[in-house]
Subunit: 315 residues, 4 copies
């Protein structure tokens, strides 16, 4: 294993520098994000809040909107309620609870600008608060519109990767490290480019450092992702993986970072997708099963549920 | 036909690999999308739903919006109706049908936040539902705004291509394969780049495979699409089409995929347009008629309705 | 004038081909758009309608919105009016005119979803129309939001160019063709790149053709447009303008197309600006006056109103 | 100091030309914008107004929205008030002040389209104004939506730079000029590229001119900003800073402009960040303290509050 003598291009280390991986803590998470905890950030950071609101799940987002609507109405209900029974005309409530509920419903009618008018504000105070609340309603609505559109228009590649990397037979008398990917969305991806960064711990003179090597692939680019794409790194003499065994990968806490770049033709945006395979996700001596077939008309049929299907091979 | 001995660049196969075309099923549809059926997709996929809503026709879109509005109001009408006649103040209906219609119109007034107030909710239950419905109205509105803007701002090249490819005289004593295109929109397209991928079935040793060749063009780029653009592939010695006849094209199920890239200066977006010609859309020994003229002031007049006009030539 | 023997790069002709300029009709308008009339377009074209709504002047846009609002309300007023006096509850009008105005104001209250309720729909027919109108109001609003944002977010470089091109002294014993430009907006433009295409009619063997030459400039790129930028084409031996006189430019209907590309750092968009100078906008033997000064603190002061200021020089 | 004999690439001068820095007035502000005052701009410029509304602080923005809402309502209140007491039905005010406040609250209910209806317009004049006002409300709302989304979606890198540049030990027996940066936002930045432009005044033959030199850096690009990034300019023989002392920097009013380009993967946008260091922000013989650590699980912890931490070194 004399590979550490090769020239390492510092641009290949993904910005991590020579820090070794310790205690099985990978550098890159499965979703491709760096496994780094960040502290010391400023408390309030509107850009990050926006980022959170845009990237949170739809369930969380709708729960947040609903609870925000409830909270605002409860706060305003307390304000109207505190102004006394004469401040809301048409409030039919006799008990305290009913009076509060009238204030609550009046608030909801105001903030949503529905304003039936069977309950209406009376006097300077409740009128002023209602004027403010309806303006807030409009702005909250504007905010929701912006957030919804921001969530929708965010370029999001939905690339599905095979669950495992395989060490499979490749060409005649050779082997390759392989994985495959396909597009889950209906939009057309063009000009795709793939990069694999292989990294492992190496101990030289008692000092453990992380090494990073970009791996050669059989085909670095495709002009259009019409079907699936199987990416192959040939295990030839130039490969730093050439003489490594399954045990070597484990011992050196080896990992593969996958970087995909493509152009989404539907929304005219460059998109990126990243993932990572750890040494324990590599299956030796297996090959992928076919993912496409022909229907009776001769048309190609691609079955995306088979993306991870593979079978063992005997060498 | 020794062309199969040339080196084939794997990046030119549009991602299809060596699958032959069978039963007249082209690889690329007329609109440039791959002719592949995709199955095994996850059932619910919000990104695809959005994609569908953005790319469907305007007629379908408005019908969907209208029927959604109707459906929502019918559902809410049933809810209000089920709360009994005392739950809506001002409901003047005596018959069951009139009471239901009052509930329906009250729902419409609530979801659109118009809220006249001649019918108004009474009691905890209908008030709560109305508060929820008006919020839903606001959010549905926000969604519609986002969708409408998404539909509008989607970069969409409206490139018109000539209906046929022609095999026409070119320069002196030579021939070329030609088609032409123009911009149907008023926006200015700059930095245009064209690519033609020619593909056909080839049988070697009894095994049929698809071959892909990018074709040389007389002029690969134009800096601005001011008029129309006639793209010419010269049938010279380097052309894989050089010695092929009309019958050869049919026998090998030949096809041409056209890929156009441009920059839309009005909306600052890179756009792509794709189309395909099958062997039966190629007309031999024909040439295009002129598409532009001069008006009385010396100004160039481009008649886009003539884009496909051609006439036969005698060789 | 043996310049027609130079190799012409077909990509420099701006897509016009060898058509000569006749009757003083320039190929490129002052705003940089091609001077080509397009006919034969499909009658209804939603993309072009959107393009028109986005690029029209603000005055026209607001007039259109206002007249659209008026027209819609007049149409709906006629519908409500036709349903008879009993269809609108609270309509206090006695005369026909007052009844129509009540219908008109009710329509305005419905479409804007303000819905005071002092006039309210009565009966199936007016209730149904009102439900439809309020939904239309919501959607029209969504449309207006999209259009307004589309108008705002459209990348628009506001580059001001000097009114004239000057043939001015340049370095020692030499001359150059010059013009200058500056940014009228406060956003920061980076990575600017300029191109000048010089074109003129040339008659060879009795046939008049248009020739296009890209001109060398002293400095093709600037990394940031911090001040103004004077673009200089040196009149050296490589210049096709070297031996041309003012009369030559006129006789050959010479013109200069200017293409500027930059990156708008505020909105993260590539922008383009184009303009053109005709032979009669070139001033011979003049030089630009300085455009910037220092204030008392040593700070540079740029006066954009002086962008076209020049003075004659005696050679 | 024979560096003025080197070839200066005109593209490196940031567009400033050879103007010297006088009276301590730097060319580039701390936020990276050019320190140039611009006058002679056209009075009304909608693009600049939009730019101002998009880039102003949130506090200012909300104050502007609130005061605009107040001002509009006060204007409309005066209009309704001027129509006399009979123009608003349901106005319960007896005193002039109460009548005006009723007009004010009616205006607020109209412009926000809440329209309770307990006050409603009566007669042609107030009805017409109310119809206009509610339309204005809708459009103002559309505008606010556009502005809010424009503010949110604006690509804004939040890069934090170390407060000082350090002249620190670098490799063995050498020194380097260093600063470091990190991303304050959670979005992932990829393909980062840095440029340092060093500039200083030089007096040749009694004429003071500004010189600009791009500085070599140890590593010009990183593929991903996973942690922090320390940018090092080695003080080797090629460096124009090689033989300059702290006094030289001060005497020549030296400055460093920093230009960072990156791709924001979350929003699919190219972003730029700029800053500047003046000679008095350079600390000699100091080195940065480590900014990251490991937690108990072996995970890397990055403390962004330590970005500027450094300590003096004894050489």
């Amino acid at each position: 294993m004399a590979i550490h003598k090769r020239k390492i291009n510092p641009e290949d280390d993904l910005g991590f520098g020579p820090q070794p991986v310790i205690k099985n803590q990978p550098l890159v998470n499965k979703d491709g994000s760096p496994n780094v905890k960040r502290v010391g950030l400023p408390r309030f950071n509107s850009a990050n809040n926006y980022h959170t609101l845009i990237t949170m799940s739809w369930t969380k987002f709708w729960l947040l909107v609903l609870s925000g609507y409830l909270t605002l109405n409860i706060i305003f209900a307390f304000i109207y309620f505190s102004f006394g029974p004469q401040s809301l005309d048409g409030s039919s409530g006799i008990s305290t609870f009913h009076r509060f509920m009238d204030a609550f419903f009046f608030s909801a009618q105001t903030i949503s600008t529905v304003g039936y008018g069977h309950i209406s504000p009376k006097g300077m105070m409740s009128n002023s608060v209602a004027a403010l609340e309806s303006m807030m309603g409009l702005l909250a609505f504007a905010l929701a519109t912006g957030l919804l559109y921001g969530r929708f228009s965010r370029p999001s590649a939905q690339i599905v990767y095979s669950k495992n990397m395989l060490v499979a037979p490749y060409l005649e008398n050779s082997r390759g490290v392989m994985f495959r990917l396909a597009n889950l969305r209906r939009n057309i991806l063009i000009d795709l480019e793939i990069e694999i960064i292989f990294s492992f711990n190496e101990t030289v003179d008692g000092k453990t450092m992380r090494r990073f090597y970009p791996l050669d692939v059989e085909r670095r680019k495709v002009s259009m992702l019409t079907m699936n794409w199987t990416i192959v790194h040939p295990l030839d003499d130039k490969s730093p993986l050439k003489d490594m065994t399954q045990e070597d990968l484990e011992k050196t806490e080896a990992g593969f970072a996958i970087l995909l770049r493509a152009f989404d033709d539907t929304f005219s945006q460059t998109i990126h997708s990243r993932t990572a395979y750890q040494y324990n996700e590599v299956i030796w001596n297996a090959k992928f099963k076919p993912i496409f077939d022909r229907d009776e008309d001769g048309r190609i049929v691609l079955d995306l549920s088979k993306i991870s299907d593979h079978e063992l091979v005997t060498t």
